[in-house]
């Protein structure tokens, strides 16, 4: 007696939401006197038709996969972790320390080390709000958003006063040694005849992101811990009955969530900038919320939603570059997509449910 088939909920609802967002965006673009179809074509061309465009799209998508998974895992325990931004920043600090102060012989080992560092630092940053929620009842939304500000200020301090090479003006760490540099798609996939992904920042971290999707899926649906997390998320009194400690699971969930957000720094800090800079996260922590909402907190959904937002980011950059559509309007379009796919989800779902009910009644 489900209200509508599962495929409709997972595929149809986001697609219709997306279509509505696109229509509204088109109206906005018409409103400023530009051609929406040409604009869309430009976005597709810039983000998907060239390998370098894909290189950017996948680079952004990698960030969004990590932060999307982070939000999704917390969602399963009915927690709203909006601190992905701060957790990723601190994860970046972990990456920087590992890369700067340990002499790595080869990038593979460095990647292993920095993965552990990013995850540990991100988890540690999420531990405090998790502990406060579990033991003191401080609302996770409030604490995690506050911790974003604290993380930014803390990172600022560390970069200016501790990690900045003497004489440098830039609040950034020294460049990481050569042996920690991750192979980019350009290096990995170009052949002698054709250079692919030229100049694009996408790197080997993308595959770690795919592994993370698989790991989260295994965790949530194949392990006892995931089972307990989901049980707690659905019913705290039920968890108590089954002997699942809400305190323990709340803290562990936040640790996992923070670790996933922290891993994003592999992509930005080790993979792209190769040094720790201020604001390396560029709001990806917040995009993760929309990605998790649109992806129904499922790793496969998160993967596709992250690709979509990667496309919007890269396509949006192309628009700003080649048309008179101002940069701010591109943010408006991205916001519309978030609004329709995330926040106004029920607006599409409710009529769709009614439609399926009516259809079924006609059959019966």
């Amino acid at each position: 007696m489900d209200r509508m088939p599962h495929w409709a909920d997972a595929v149809l609802v986001p697609l219709i939401s997306l279509l509505l967002a696109a229509i509204l965006s088109a109206l906005v673009i018409i409103g400023i006197g530009e051609d929406p179809i040409a604009a869309f074509k430009l976005m597709v061309d810039g983000a998907l038709m060239r390998s370098s465009g894909w290189g950017y799209t996948l680079y952004y998508a990698t960030n969004f996969i990590f932060t999307g998974l982070a939000v999704a895992v917390a969602f399963h325990a009915k927690m709203f972790n909006i601190g992905g931004e701060g957790q990723a920043m601190i994860g970046g600090l972990g990456v920087a320390l590992i890369c700067l102060f340990i002499p790595w012989p080869h990038w593979t080992l460095a990647l292993l080390g920095s993965t552990v560092g990013a995850a540990l630092f991100g988890a540690a940053w999420a531990y405090i709000p998790g502990y406060l929620q579990a033991r003191r009842g401080s609302h996770i939304v409030i604490t995690t958003i506050m911790f974003n500000f604290i993380a930014a200020a803390f990172l600022n301090y560390v970069l200016v006063n501790l990690l900045r090479p003497s004489g440098a003006m830039d609040p950034a760490s020294a460049r990481f040694p050569e042996s920690t540099h991750l192979p980019t798609f350009n290096e990995m996939f170009s052949t002698a005849e054709t250079a692919l992904f030229r100049g694009a920042p996408a790197n080997v971290t993308f595959f770690i992101a795919l592994l993370a999707c698989l790991a989260v899926w295994l965790l949530m649906w194949r392990t006892r811990l995931g089972y307990e997390i989901r049980a707690l998320g659905h019913s705290e009194s039920g968890a108590l009955y089954a002997g699942i400690s809400p305190v323990r699971i709340t803290i562990i969930t936040m640790l996992i969530s923070g670790a996933l957000a922290g891993l994003m720094a592999l992509n930005t800090t080790q993979g792209e900038s190769e040094r720790l800079i201020l604001n390396a996260t560029e709001g990806a922590g917040f995009i993760g919320i929309a990605v998790a909402l649109m992806g129904r907190s499922h790793p496969v959904g998160v993967l596709f939603a992250a690709l979509l937002f990667g496309f919007l980011y890269q396509g949006g950059a192309e628009l700003a570059l080649w048309t008179n559509i101002p940069r701010e309007l591109i943010i408006v379009i991205q916001a519309l997509v978030i609004l329709f796919t995330g926040a106004m989800d029920n607006m599409v779902r409710a009529p769709l449910e009614r439609m399926f009910l009516a259809l079924r009644r006609k059959e019966g």
Partner: protein, 534 residues
């Protein structure tokens, strides 16, 4: 009576919620000056029908006639204007207002309160004399007991000149003595010419108080009969649609060693109210101990402590070994390791995760069990197999392990829980309200399962607010009132009347009228709770 117009006539009422047809083409005539019972299982559509009559829902089809004239009832104001009053299962009273203020609330005349109150006071006095509906008009609602609060609800309806009173499961929160008082009031109201619609799922109440009874099943009105011309067995059959066994078939118990021993158990809840006050009891192997009592007298807390969901002080041993009552070894996991299984009072909030598949729920609480795991991962195939087996044995319908828990009926949800807990063959089974919201067919089955666990030499502690259930299942009965055990009786040597007094906290024959004694006890309890609360 056929020559008079019916007080209420419904013709062809239908109402659907999404795919669920809650009422299907229902027609019914309620004659004036009668008590008309409507009986049916949970979800049969009784409440929907009454909500339509009271203007909360709009019927998809059908007509309503009041006193012979066709009437539209778009909202509750219209229902009141048509002379219909409703007493809800959960009262709608303002706790910190007086009785008088509550009666007037919403029916004030003019902008000043004083004339309305004076008029209401006079009217209350008249109503009191006419119907013996005694309540102190100046008492605050939170200072009077549940039974009196219900009288205020009735007074509210009468004050609004209701000729037709609808009572929805009115005895759910009352002690048997209070229920008897309510029945007397209702008889009196009927004798004075009022029409009463009495909704319940309890056959005994129908037999005791109604003149006519209508039976609902799955949204349809299956029969309307004179109460004097029917029997509980026939009504049960009409409700379920097949023959049912109302009595539990069981042999006398052969109790063995003490399995559960509870000594001086106390619980203080988060508001600082003492909910258990030195409870001591024991349950032996091969017997069922029933805990009787009106809801909210500490039975839930007792179950929660035993099930590891709540911390307490005191001493509990299971098979002679003491168990932790606080700290990290006092949770559901460690209780299960000690051989305690628990069918909780609220299957939807505790016993099941409503969004989980049936198979996931079969592992709930036992998800660490080696048979459900292989290494780091859960062995989902093994769990599904186990679920399919249990579903078949307990006749869960539909027998589909993939179905989400919320898509099963109440009875089948409960069977999933009971199957999970009983199939472990625990040394001690805790059962809370095993048949609440469960259809009669499933009740029969669940009762049989509990008895056969007892016959297998296991100990069972049963908590239920249904006295019938306690009496028919238990070997021994302990009665709880205000966080204490008031007394223990052998089920074969006691009756409803004796237990009813214990449920109101009266342990020996009072030196004044029983009703006064009951009243006194209930007030003392409520005062204690309120005091610590403040």
């Amino acid at each position: 009576m056929s020559d008079t117009e019916p007080a209420i006539e419904l013709r062809g009422i239908s109402k659907a919620f999404g795919p669920v047809q809650a009422n299907k083409d229902i027609s019914i005539k309620v004659m004036p000056g009668t008590i008309h019972g409507i009986i049916g299982e949970n979800g049969a559509g009784k409440s929907t029908l009454m909500s339509i009559l009271y203007g909360f829902y709009k019927a998809d089809a059908g007509e309503i006639f009041i006193g012979g004239t066709k009437t539209q009832i778009p909202d509750s104001q219209a229902a009141i204007a048509a002379g219909i009053g409703m007493v809800f299962q959960h009262f709608k009273l303002v706790e910190n207002f007086t009785v008088l203020e509550n009666v007037v609330l919403g029916a004030e005349e003019g902008n000043l309160l004083r004339p309305s109150l004076a008029k209401a006071r006079k009217l209350l006095k008249e109503l009191e004399e006419e119907y013996e509906l005694r309540v102190d008009p100046d008492a605050r609602i939170d200072e009077i007991g549940v039974g009196r609060q219900q009288r205020v609800e009735i007074l509210k309806a009468l004050y609004r000149r209701a000729d037709i009173l609808i009572l929805d499961e009115p005895t759910g929160v009352l002690t048997p003595t209070e229920a008897d008082q309510l029945f007397r009031i209702l008889s009196r109201l009927r004798d004075e010419g009022k029409t009463i619609i009495f909704i319940t799922h309890k056959l005994r109440e129908i037999m005791d108080i109604t003149d006519t009874v209508s039976v609902m099943r799955r949204g349809e009105m299956t029969a309307t009969v004179k109460t004097s011309e029917t029997s509980p067995t026939e009504l049960a059959e009409l409700m379920v649609g097949r023959k049912v066994l109302l009595r539990v078939d069981k042999q006398p118990a052969t109790p063995g060693d003490v399995v559960l021993d509870v000594e001086n158990l106390s619980v203080i809840n988060s508001q600082g109210v003492e909910r258990l006050r030195g409870v001591s009891l024991n349950v032996r192997a091969g017997e069922i101990l029933g805990i009787a009592g009106v809801a909210g007298n500490g039975q839930s807390e007792l179950l929660e402590v035993l099930g590891g969901m709540r911390e307490a002080t005191g001493r509990i041993t299971v098979n002679g070994e003491e168990i932790d009552l606080t700290g990290r070894h006092s949770d559901g996991q460690s209780r299960r390791e000690r051989g305690i299984a628990h069918v909780p009072e609220d299957r939807q909030r505790e016993g099941l995760i409503m969004e989980f598949h049936a198979w996931e729920n079969t592992a709930f609480g036992y998800h660490h069990d080696p048979e459900f795991n292989s290494g780091l991962l859960m062995n989902n195939a093994a769990i599904k197999e186990d679920t399919a087996r249990k579903m078949e044995k307990f006749d869960v319908r539909p027998p589909d392990p993939q179905l989400t828990a919320k898509n099963f009926s109440g009875g089948n949800q409960q069977k999933i829980v009971v199957a999970r807990e009983i199939e472990r063959s625990p040394d001690l089974l805790l059962v809370g309200q095993p048949t609440r919201g469960v259809d009669i067919g499933a009740i029969e089955f669940i009762h049989q399962q509990i008895v056969s666990l007892r016959d297998a030499g296991k100990a069972v502690l049963l908590v239920s607010v249904e006295l019938d259930e306690i009496l028919s299942l238990s070997d021994r009965v302990a009665v709880m009132f205000d966080g204490k055990i008031m007394g223990e009786r052998l089920a074969s040597e006691t009756d409803e009347k004796e237990l009813g007094l214990l449920m109101a906290g009266i342990t020996e024959a009072p030196d004044k009228p029983v009703e006064e004694a009951v009243e006194e006890q209930l007030q003392a309890r409520d005062a204690r709770k309120a005091q610590i609360h403040g």
